[in-house]
Symmetry: C2
Subunit: 461 residues, 2 copies
């Protein structure tokens, strides 16, 4: 089976889809090689295509299949596992020109969207109808729904509402041979055949290219109330997380930052946070009115029982929003201190204190300063190593340390990736968590759907 | 490839697992041939096995693979699509002796269970810890969690909380070759590799046999408030459903019964329902206290705007529970009038009035009395034909009518099965809904995971 030289394919593509934007000059394609994993070395793409319709995607895929040219689907490139980085000799397919909201259906509480729509743009559009799309990755102002679907992204509100996949009712997908299928629709319950929707969600474009999604919405919840709790050390904050849930409270947001991160964020944004604290929790309720007050009261009591050194309620919605933005900026704040390599592990919530202790132990053992923040409410932590840009030994030490951190997460019944995806960054560790038989099943499914391995090769598996 | 005669396999099975209960006498196996689809003619099983551990299931599957003997996994046999009916010459594997609750983990809000546990037994056990497992099929007092997982069952609370699959964090599955995998665990967020959990959920034992499940729980909600609304006709009730959601209310339960069903239920249970009504809605809120009152007030206003003829609030929890039981007994009530063939279609909620009109039109055209009830809140309806036991033409007319009903549901953007599954009953219609390319993908997955077609053959696909 001869591999096409690429030039023939590009020629045929230009002929078949003359109106589609297609970049082939390396100067033009360079910025589409990378995502937010700057430590990964992507390949050089054959070109970068910007299809504008499902028909164009299908035509492109059929042509690529005929020429055996691999394809890399891509959204905004804000991913953190290398799911969208370029593959040598592959055509990168950027979905950002398919960014329409096709429908906001208030009666059925669904939105039908193209993959290129920005998460925040969808949120604003549905808010105008009094509706709410919960999944909100920290990158929500720049990331696309297509990328969220590809990675099954999480965010700050997952602890109460769930992750991206929990809000997907159906997809339109272009398969590896160019056929177009629909996996579901606006029906809330639909059990006809196998659940293909959730199989494509989180598969990082390795099983098909998502060209449309039917998303479940909710009526907009009441405004949030926000509580900050400061602690002398990280274990006390971890203890508080358990006590909050023991009290029967499921907050909409329950975020943790260690002292290192608190100071980095405060340096940047001058929020007046307690810079002497060893850890901070941000706890929010959208239960509304008196119920929200009760939730935050119960959370405050739980924090005090865990030894909180101070508790601060946001004075108003603006202040709360400012604090939330600061949390979302945690990674950026740490980056000001050097190279900040953010990781993404998850454990059952009750194991958070052990996971935090393991991170501290491992970082110390490798002499790597670490900032830890994350979605403590759902056990998803982002240990972030901060190293000097010029340190030639950093990369190797980070790799040893992160391997140890994955082992620790797995030993605690957790995961090597809570919300960033497997991509290129973690495929070597997948079997360690899932086991060889489960990975064999994944490979069998990949082979069944993409026998020639043309869809985003080298990602996930 | 020679097919084993069966006797050799049974001998080897008895030798390998001498302590496992194994029925082979047709008098003993007869009751395990059927589920609740009495109109389907099941095959005669080779035998019926009752493994007591994952190891026994794995040993059994390995042996069956070696002898090319097909297997039919089974729970309580309360299914309504023939997913668990016996297959000629296959070994039926009953999971009811694996019925332990292995763990109720309050801190992580999860339960770890074996597949044979009865849904209601799990509900009661977690309630003792102040917790809540939402999915509640009408058969919840007799159906197993394993069966719920196999069919991705729904129930009365799905409109607010979701279906079985929404509460599954991880599974232990015995694959077709006897290998045992785990697809997830107690982590709320886990995106390592493909989502195998949701692929096995709803696959009716055709891809693997589920031997353990990690289920997500919730803190128990406040007691429910219950409202009944009666209407002159079905379209008015359908209109009310839309108005309730327009008002921003998401009730925990929103059930519909047409007048035919109301009278059948009242005949049986003497509830004092309005027997002159053309339709009834049962609306419940578990929002708690004043919030629940507000939800029901808003729902009551919506019903009045849609022309409700009367509104009744349940006087207390006992009365509400009684009404709920009556709703669950709708199928049984209709059965008292003859053969009651319950179906299960779903449409986007806004299309309910059109679906109800289509059901009425189709039933009239085929001279088939029909009672309609179902989960109006999520668009899932159970049109139930009631025919004379002795009518020799009924079967053919039902088959023509149900085909027309599926066409109508599909034309409205809906599904041939909202919560009962594809099984044997609907496999012929699967492609009509999903399309040939999507079914081709399902077949490819089935072949990848069960190349010899030994797991529940003839079901789903």
């Amino acid at each position: 089976m001869a591999i096409d030289t690429g030039r023939t394919f590009l020629g045929a593509l230009g002929e078949a889809l003359p109106d589609m934007r297609l970049l082939t000059d390396p100067a033009d394609t360079e910025s589409y090689r990378w995502d937010e994993t700057e430590y990964l070395q992507p390949g050089r793409p054959l070109g970068v295509a910007f299809p504008r319709s499902t028909d164009e995607v299908a035509a492109l895929v059929r042509l690529a299949a005929r020429h055996r040219t691999p394809l890399v689907p891509r959204g905004a490139g804000s991913g953190l596992s290398g799911g969208a980085v370029a593959v040598e000799g592959a055509l990168t397919v950027v979905l950002t020109e398919m960014a329409a909201i096709l429908e906001i259906d208030r009666q059925n509480l669904v939105a039908v969207v193209q993959p290129g729509i920005i998460n925040a743009a969808l949120g604003r559009a549905v808010a105008e109808h009094g509706l709410f799309y919960p999944p909100d990755p920290a990158s929500f102002e720049i990331c696309t729904i297509g990328g969220n679907l590809a990675e099954n992204s999480g965010g700050l509100r997952c602890v109460k509402y769930g992750v991206t996949g929990d809000f997907v009712l159906g997809l339109e997908v272009v398969l590896a041979d160019g056929a177009v299928i629909r996996t579901g629709g606006k029906s809330l319950k639909d059990v006809a055949g196998y659940d293909l929707t959730q199989l494509f969600v989180g598969s990082e474009g390795t099983l098909g290219i998502i060209t449309e999604a039917t998303l479940r919405l909710m009526p907009a919840p009441p405004p949030k109330l926000t509580l900050l709790a400061f602690f002398a050390d990280v274990p006390a904050a971890g203890d508080a997380v358990g006590r909050i849930f023991d009290a029967g409270v499921v907050p909409v947001t329950l975020e943790l930052m260690d002292g290192f991160t608190v100071r980095a964020v405060d340096d940047w944004h001058q929020l007046g946070l307690d810079r002497t604290a060893g850890a901070m929790l941000m706890i929010e309720s959208d239960a509304g009115g008196a119920a929200a007050e009760r939730e935050l009261d119960a959370a405050a009591q739980a924090c005090e029982a865990a030894g909180a050194t101070s508790l601060v309620r946001a004075a108003d919605a603006t202040e709360a929003d400012w604090l939330r933005q600061a949390r979302r900026a945690a990674h950026g704040a740490l980056e000001r201190a050097g190279v900040a390599r953010m990781d993404d592990v998850g454990v059952p919530r009750s194991r958070i204190p052990e996971m935090l202790a393991a991170i501290e132990r491992i970082s110390a053992a490798h002499g790597l300063p670490v900032g830890v923040f994350g979605h403590a409410g759902d056990g998803n932590l982002h240990p972030t190593f901060v190293v000097d840009r010029e340190d030639p030994t950093a990369e190797a030490r980070i790799n040893t340390a992160r391997s140890a951190i994955y082992d620790a997460a797995i030993a605690l019944g957790g995961t090597i990736t809570g919300e960033h995806g497997t991509g290129v960054a973690k495929r070597a560790y997948l079997e360690r968590q899932r086991g060889s038989d489960a990975v064999r099943v994944m490979r069998a499914i990949k082979h069944a759907l993409d026998p020639d391995g043309l869809l985003n090769p080298g990602k996930v598996l």
